[in-house]
Symmetry: C2
DNA sequence: CTACGATGTTAGATATACCTAACAAAATGT
DNA sequence: ACATTTTGTTAGGTATATCTAACATCGTAG
């Protein structure tokens, strides 16, 4: 049995993992706002449960079992977010905190029903992939808008670091998943972009914003 | 702040309260499957928080504040059950255990949205009243079917002691809220009733079943 | 009216999940 | 290479929510 607390650690470990699947105690501690000694002792417990590979002073890695369990929690989180947006009428900026709680509900039928009512969605309201029932992710390779060039036309496919403030900013600019953006110019000075989309003919997006928008080239 | 555990105690206290609003430690202990010493110490904590009137060896009583908080938890529980049945397609026998978890979600907008999507329902899928936003109940006086007499025609308005098994039994007999029942005869021997409803012309319902069905006379 | 069974409390223990203070190891910069 | 900073661990403590064993009180049946 994996506790609510353990589920949150697994999710954070998965989300922080680098290319090599490694996470430092310090990063995890900051992510969860839990002090390092507490994290260390939880890692020892998760290692006992074969969910994490733990060796003193070495980076943390999820085991295969740990990845699967993390995937299943993320699945519940993202299905919940999608349900809140598509079936209940919440904005994409409102759903994360609610999903953070609902993801811990223990009921297979509950999430199966959500999945079914949504028509077995593959992505959540922020464009992130929803893991399958085995906790497996179908990775999709998007580009950051900040890595694109003047003259290109792209479509917004996902947002990263989805704070409520950032999402409200996008709401104000009327940028959502699917918005088709033409890059008119890029300021080499600060990386900001002048773009056009929908009825807006010349909006400026800061580098900070462009880094957080994942796009597909047309 | 009221913890998940405290919410469950408050709900149980409310549901067990007799005419005088009193509950014994022993009853509460059995209801929650938690040993008496644990219950005693939790009652002291709830008394500190002004949610329960506690005196050694006296029956437990919720304070006004305690009743309000209990009402609010029951509100969340029953709104959840109604949503699961009406909007998600679960059967009334499936929803209690899921609601037992979802009721602890801390989000005013979440339950407000559920309430709105349901059209501000007054009763849950088992016919129990849904408290208002101040935790106040609108009590409705129903009769037990077992207190009715041969020749009377009644409509099923609520079910009590809503175990999954009992609700599945009612599903098999095609008895639901709103079913109009004619009492053809009552066995004085064991209190069982011969009734007709819908297409069924002579079904027998045991006293145990009749006690658990709340009805309105036509 | 008292003895006994039921009910309730106290005392002390355990598990989980968190903390701070102190110490140890690793990484970094001059 | 060594001092300093950053990262990580150990030791020991707290709060919550549970338990069992022992003791106390209550209610009632004889
Ligand atoms: Mn989220
Ligand atoms: Mn969470
Ligand atoms: Mn219920
Ligand atoms: Mn509950």
């Amino acid at each position: 049995m994996i506790s609510l607390t353990e589920e949150n650690y697994l999710k954070a470990l998965f989300n922080l993992a680098n290319h090599a699947g490694e996470v430092n105690v310090n990063e995890l501690s900051k992510q969860l706002s839990i002090k390092m000694p507490t994290v260390t002792s939880m890692m020892k417990k998760l290692a006992e449960k074969k969910l994490v590979h733990y060796e003193s002073y070495k980076p943390l890695r999820l085991t295969e079992k740990g990845k699967k369990e993390a995937g299943l929690v993320i699945r519940k989180h993202r299905l919940t977010e999608m349900f809140l947006v598509d079936k209940m009428g919440f904005g994409w900026e409102e759903v994360h905190d609610i999903a953070e709680q609902v993801e811990h509900v223990r009921s297979v039928v509950f999430f199966d029903k959500i999945d079914e009512l949504l028509g077995f969605p593959k992505i959540d309201p922020h464009g992130a992939p929803i893991p399958d029932k085995n906790g497996k992710f179908a990775w999709i390779a998007y580009d950051k808008l900040s890595d694109c060039h003047a003259g290109e036309t792209v479509r917004v496919s996902a947002v990263i670091h989805t704070s409520s403030e950032f999402l409200k900013f996008l709401n104000n600019r009327e940028i959502r998943l699917g918005t088709k953006i033409k890059i008119k110019s890029v300021e080499s000075f600060d990386g900001s972009m002048v773009v056009s989309y929908d009825n807006r003919s010349a909006d400026t997006l800061s580098h900070t914003v462009c880094e957080r928008l994942l796009v597909e080239k047309e």
